[in-house]
């Protein structure tokens, strides 16, 4: 792969000298050359993602929304971004997405309430990057069947200041954002978690994660089946009934908007050109 980095004319020079197998110094030269290119992109080494790596649809949507490479044959997905995203992207030149660490999640589901704790590892955000905004995106799936649809849920997003000291105890939290939603719709909800994430990026020791609480106020009125369907409406945990692929694209997503002080914002580039 690295040999492809040498321009055609120089590749011919190598073959003219009668050397078919590159010497160690040539390989080192290529590695150094590639490293310089990667440094230019802000990377320490060449990324080697596994085949299981998932690219969230939201990041692809953001790319197509802001990309300058307008290729007419590619079908553009319908934009689902709100004005808050445009505002956040207009101040940032880097947008990062994070899935939570499933090993650290903690789910509690009590009568009329579901609470899930998420931990997002933000250590890959470089120190020189200033986080200007962050959103937690939660997917909710329409409740099927007339009997179950039409109910309301309250989604509360908390920052965890101190984890629960014992299973019976509550963690110490503060409310970051809240919304009342109707379960007859399928869509992503975006919650503002910028203040907490900006602090975690500066002081990672304060990162104890987020707590997502879903309140089901009308739960006692329905049958057991309806209640179960309603509980599945907000996708905060893996479902035993769904396949791996659906969870990969439906799991909560933390998106950070940051600027490293170099160059223009992601959104501006397109507008300036127009």
């Amino acid at each position: 792969g690295a040999a492809g980095l040498i321009p055609e004319i120089d590749r011919r020079k190598y073959s003219d000298s009668g050397r078919h197998t590159p010497e160690r110094s040539d390989i080192n030269f290529l590695k150094e050359f590639e490293l310089r290119l990667l440094n230019m992109f802000g990377l320490k080494r060449r990324p080697t993602p596994s085949k299981s790596a998932v690219v969230p649809q939201y990041m692809l949507d953001l790319y197509y929304m802001h990309s300058e490479n307008d290729e007419p044959n590619i079908r553009r997905p319908r934009s689902t971004m709100g004005k808050h995203v445009e505002r956040a992207a207009s101040r940032a030149n880097t947008i990062r997405s994070f899935h939570h660490e499933e090993a650290f999640e903690a789910l509690s589901s009590l009568k009329g309430k579901t609470a899930q704790q998420f931990f997002f590892n933000l250590t890959s955000v470089p120190a020189e990057e200033l986080i200007t905004a962050a959103e937690l995106r939660i997917f909710r799936d329409q409740v099927l069947g007339e009997a179950g649809a039409g109910g309301f849920h309250r989604i509360n997003i908390y920052e965890v200041f101190r984890p629960a000291l014992a299973p019976s105890k509550e963690p110490l939290t503060r409310l970051l954002d809240t919304r009342l939603v109707q379960d007859s719709h399928t869509r992503w909800e975006s919650f503002d978690v910028g203040s907490a994430v900006a602090r975690w990026a500066r002081e990672s020791q304060h990162n104890h994660g987020l707590l997502v609480e879903v309140l089901h106020p009308e739960e006692s009125e329905g049958s057991e089946e309806v209640e179960t369907n309603r509980r599945r409406h907000v996708r905060v945990s893996r479902s035993l009934h769904a396949d791996e692929d659906s969870w990969a694209q439906a799991r909560p997503l933390l998106v950070t908007y940051s600027h490293d002080g170099q160059g223009s914002a992601v959104l501006h580039s397109n507008r300036e050109k127009r």
Binding site: F41, K44, R46, L60, Y63, T94, S97, G263, V266
Partner: protein, 118 residues
Amino acid sequence: QARQRPKQRRKQHPRTNCRRHALYVDFSDVGWNEWIVAPPGYHAFYCHGECPFPLSDHLNSTNHAIVQTLVNSVNSNIPKACCVPTELSPISLLYLDEYEKVILKNYQDMVVEGCGCR
């Protein structure tokens, strides 16, 4: 007459003069498509060509380049002005980093928009 006009123009500004040339960088050529999700490549362009004496307006020169070219015409020890990018634009890359995190980043000065003698 209409057909002859472009020929006359070409004579005035030979194709060897400083201008922008096509250059497409294909990430799959170097195996970078493994981690760059989009785009598959991009039109980077490059600048190449002569900066002849006297520098005409379309060569997008500076006062200094005009003076340097003038001096070169009488003293070849002083090089001619160079054909370089005068305007660059950014591109957005969507990629997976070393930790498999998905990043959308705007990189400055990746595409040559204009060339000139400087």
